[in-house]
Symmetry: C2
Subunit: 197 residues, 2 copies
Amino acid sequence: MDAKRLESQLAFIREIDKIKGIARQSLLFDGSRFENDAEHSWTVCVMALVLAEYSNEKVDLGRVIQMLLVHDVVEVDSGDTFLYAPERDSAAVADREERAARRIFGILGEDQGRPLLETWLEFEARETAEARFAAVLDRLEPLLQNYANSGFTWKKHGIRSSQVVERNAHIAEGSAELWDYARGLIEESVKRGYLAE
Amino acid sequence: MDAKRLESQLAFIREIDKIKGIARQSLLFDGSRFENDAEHSWTVCVMALVLAEYSNEKVDLGRVIQMLLVHDVVEVDSGDTFLYAPERDSAAVADREERAARRIFGILGEDQGRPLLETWLEFEARETAEARFAAVLDRLEPLLQNYANSGFTWKKHGIRSSQVVERNAHIAEGSAELWDYARGLIEESVKRGYLAE
């Protein structure tokens, strides 16, 4: 066994453990507290397992799950950028996250770090069937959480339904069925006063 | 789309979300607080991804990860049983956990719930290469956490090194190399006073 290699692998595990301290903007389903990035990552992986049948395209489920396992590790350096933050799609955020990905996956040897960096870049680019479906789950989870918590995050930040539709519309590219369902939730949220018209 | 089916799938996701409120006995690597079951599940999945090369036998990594994603959901009903608790291997705990598994996976339709129940039973039985390797990661994570936190959990519960060796020895069945590494950590922990002789 190559002791130095194993130490690098365990250093990577310890480094990404920090996402357990990175709070998201959404509450857990029971509303008790904010979810952290590690918990979110676990949930979207289980969602992939259970909801795979709704993908528009046939996907390699193992690759979807690998993508979702590591999609948020960059937030160790860059923090969580709120979905509705104005800077969300900026080059500055993209650049900061890519630098973080290179540093963090770089803790591993090239033979492992490179494929994981490519997996992360694939998720970000949303140009493959797996990345499109992974993005569905990444967006659907906070929608479900907000609906379960009477629109907590939407109300807190004064988000309007048109913003929710605009920011989540790419769910349709990965799953027309789940986008139909999500649009129903958004409409119902407006009716119930969880979300501003 | 079968609306009732999707509602069952989402009810399952909401139900297992409760493991985010189930604290384990080990601290996060940074020692800031106890880890919960969802965070643990995420970490052992990433460990599977990064440490697969140390499995004694060739494994289907996708199946290892599926097993690890759901291995702790029974704790929604049964709670976390401490590794060193006297009742850990009792028929009563096994029975309670199996009833929990049947109830929780039973929220899903038979076509999805049955295979997930079988995956969970396979993990518990440790009779396949995938289950043996999944068990390695389930045991290795708290060892690493305890070492990183100067033996916090061992000291708190007065655990001795012979107990740690006995309870973790089956790591060798899944990975001789990681068991060698773990034994080194245990010995070093005794030397440093993290763990009683």
